[in-house]
Every structure is written in C-alpha cells, then in structure tokens.
Amino acid sequence: MATDIVSAFATAFGLIVGLDPTFLAVVALSLKVTLSALVLAAVAGLPLGALLGITRFPGRGATIVVVNTLMGLPPVVAGLVLYLLLSRSGPLGGFGLLFTPGAMIAAQTLLILPIVVALTRQTTEDLWGEYGEHLRSIGLTGARAVPTLLWDGRFALTTALLAGFGRASAEVGAVLIVGGNIAGHTRTMTTTIALETSKGDLALALGLGIALVGLTLAINAVAFSAGRIAARHVG
C-alpha cells in the first residue's frame, strides 16, 4: 500500500509535468463541463437568489427550505433524474443529449444551482437588511435593486461560486450516469479515477486524484488573489 501511495505521487507528477495528451484532454473536458455548468448556474442562480432574498411572497419560507435541501441533492440522484429525462425513451429524448458533454453540463448545473441560489439569497437578504432603506430612498426597489445588491455582495458571492465549482468538479455520480464515461468524449477526471480504480490500477487512480486536487487548488488560488486585488482597488 505504501508503495502505491509513493507511486501515486510520482504518477501525478508525471501526468502534470509530462503533459500527456490523453490526460490533458480529460482535464480540458472536466474544466469545460464544470465551468460551463458554473456559468449557467451563476447566470440563473444569482438573480434568482437575490430576488428570493429581497422579495416577500406566500410560500417563500417553503421555497427557501426546498432550495436549502437541494444543496444536499445526491449527485447520483440528479444523474438518474436527468438520465430518465434525456433518454431516448424519456420526455427530452429528442435532443439526443444523453451520453454527451451537454448532458453532463446539465447535470452539474442542476447540482450547483441550489448552492448558488441559497448562498446568494442569504447574502442579499443580509445586505438588504442593512442598505434596503437607502436603496429604496434612491428609487431602487424590487428587481431594480438586484444588480446593486449582487455587486455589493460580490466577494461573498465569489465564495458561493467557488463552493459550486468544488461540488461540480468533485462529483462522479451524475456525470458517470448521464455521460457514460466514453473514452475521448465524456471521460472526466473523476470518472477516469473511478475507472482506473475498477481496473485495479490504484496508483494511477490516486495520481489522477492528486492532479485533480492540485488543479482545484490552483483555481482557488487564482480566485483568492483576484479577490484580494479587486478589494484593494475598491479601497
């Protein structure tokens, strides 16, 4: 076992430094799927979350509870639901999306969206409590206050997006079901790790895992530094 772990680090190092083309293609697909899902979830989730934060309507409490619950939606369940929807025998089968990266993006969007909505709701609700009166006094009410609140909460919201990114890049259950783990088409880092584990190549599987964590670390470092620089410029 100890030799497996040592050899895993050597494998990870070799994969990253050696720029193995197959490995790079897998990394590129993983990033493309996860970042696309993140952008979709942000475009839909940030405004929705802000609206949920500042508006009052019957059933709002129940909506918040449902959204919070969906943050814990097991990826394999999200994958199964989408599988049944996107299957040729399902209601959305006509699009032929099953076993394509598009299906994987849809699955991860489904997983991230509740996180973005729930955390945006909390952030904007707090900001609204603080600045609501001021915003109202300059004529920004309801939906018109949403952009301002999102802008003011941008640093907290970056963390929400990073949480979403983390959930999507780490999950394997959903993309495995709707993507099918097809070599060269829908094989991501996590599904490769699952596959290599099942082939008994534990060193390679762990090596890929180390590379995945390294990649996530790099992305978080960039986001953190960008936030620091931006905060300094704002003053």
Binding site: S87, G90, I138
Partner: protein
C-alpha cells in the same frame, strides 16, 4: 458609483451568458463525423479489448464508436431504451430475450473467453488446482468461506448464479455473511476480494489485465461450465427509429467478419490471448 457598478455587472452577466450560450451551442451542434453508441460490458472495457479493436474499425469505416461500459443487464436496458445503437454483451439467454422482444432483429455470436474462480493463495476452501467448479462452489459454501458476488445483473453475475444452481445450491436459502453481494463492476469485485481474502468469479480477460491482485490467484479454471460467450446485436430501427441502423450494422458485420475476428484474436496482454473469435460456430 452605483450606476457604474450596475453597468459593469450587467456587462459581466451578459458576457457570461454569451460564453455559456456558446458552450451549449457547441454541445448541441451535431457531430460532423459519423458515430455510434455501443452499450457493452465492463469486462470488454476493463480488459482493454476496445482500445485495440475500435481504432482499426474507425480507420477503415470512418465511423467513431462510443462505448458505454455497463453490466450486461444495464447494457441491454440501455439498448431497450434506445440509448445505444449496438449492444455487445455476454449472457445468451438474456440476449435471446432481447431479440424475442423485438429490440434487435438478430443476435450474432462474436467470441468467447472463460470465467475463472479467483481466490486467496492460502486457499481456505481447499479447492486450488481443481477443474470442477461445482465441487469448488460446494466446498466454499460448506466451509462458509467468504465469496464476493457482483450482484449487479451483469453477465458474470448471471453466470455465477447459474453455476450455483448447477452445483445444487439454493442460493436464496444458503446466503449468509459469507456471501457478499457488492452490486459493482468486475474490477471493484476483484479489489474487494483482494482486500478481504475472498473467492470471486471473474472473466479471464479482466483478471489478466487486473493490476491490484495482492494475494489473489486462479483457484479453479478449465471446466467447460466456465465457458463465456459474447454476442452482438444492432438495435432495431423498428422499435427506435432514431438509431443509426446502417452504421450499427456496419459495426456488427465487421465484428463477425474476417477482419474483426482476426483483430480479436490478435489482442494479447503479456503474450496471452484474451478472447477467442467464434462467429462462424453454429449455435454459439
């Protein structure tokens, strides 16, 4: 200040919407090249056979083959739902049922390999070197030695259930702590057997290419009951009009034709042949 903030936010949202729109458009746009989806088994994928066969087929026909590796039961269901153009599995009775239901016009035999009973070198059931799989299973049951079952309706799982039955053991009644159904693929079953020192039925191809053997070795092999036949079927366009019937048939014809059969017999790991083509064998 607020106005500037709002303007840049709107710009940011518009830009990200554009980016994601492009990403989606790229996904939805139909592939330029021809391609088919083949639902097959973990044993064919994990053994590396497809990595050997598919480039040869694609180079000849220009048809790209996307393999979704599942257990045989799940692969057949994928075909039933119309989510695959070709199904390539190993459970003859289930395949004939698939044809009988009209999901494929015909089943063609392709190749065989065999199952091997894998177990720890310490051989707690005392069966190592035997060629009698029924006696070996009775010994495992009798001594209550740990046995890992795929438990996933795969071809290997169905073969295992048939072997217990042939050994005269009523599994439902005999099941106990010794019998562990894991509901996972072949590799996962071998990993678990390796870590708990259990016996497990495996297809020889996956066993030969499996790397995490630990203390495991072949306990029983060579019994004719351990024969493992693979069959291939193009999903019927009558049931699912959208399937790529012509390209699917091209793949089936290639697999059972001389070139595919030769490519199968050419596939070796460490000099050992993993699969034996037999498309021309009647009744296979």
């Amino acid at each position: 200040m607020i106005r500037i903030a709002r303007r840049s936010l709107v710009a940011a949202v518009a830009a990200s919407a554009l980016v994601s729109g492009l990403a989606i458009a790229e996904e939805v746009k139909p592939a330029v090249g021809r391609s088919i989806v083949v639902a097959s088994t973990t044993s064919t994928q994990d053994s590396g056979l497809f990595g050997h066969l598919l480039p040869i087929f694609t180079a000849k026909t220009g048809i790209e083959v996307k393999v979704v590796a599942q257990g045989t039961g799940q692969a057949l269901d994928t075909g039933r739902r119309g989510d695959a153009d070709v199904v390539f599995v190993h459970a003859k009775a289930a395949e004939e049922k698939f044809v009988g239901e009209g999901f494929a016009a015909e089943r063609r035999p392709v190749m065989y390999n065999d199952f091997v009973l894998i177990g720890p070198r310490s051989d707690p059931a005392g069966i190592r070197g035997s060629r009698d799989i029924a006696a070996a299973l009775r010994a495992i049951r009798g001594k209550g030695v740990a046995f890992v079952s795929r438990g996933d309706r795969s071809g290997t799982h169905q073969a295992e259930l048939a072997l217990w039955k042939a050994a005269g053991i009523e599994l439902e009644a005999a099941k106990g702590a010794w019998y562990r159904e894991i509901g996972q693929g072949m590799g996962a079953a071998l990993n678990i057997a390796s870590s708990m020192g259990a016996y497990v039925l495996a297809d020889r191809g996956t066993w030969i290419s499996f790397k995490n053997r630990g203390d495991l070795d072949i306990a029983v092999e060579g019994d004719t009951a351990l024969f493992n036949q693979y069959g291939i079927m193009a999903v019927s366009p009558v049931k699912h009009p959208h399937v790529k019937a012509a390209d699917g048939k091209a793949f089936v014809d290639w697999m059972v034709g001389p070139e595919g059969q030769k490519a199968i017999s050419d596939y070796r790991i460490d000099g050992r042949q993993l699969f034996f083509p037999n498309a021309d064998q009647p009744g296979a």
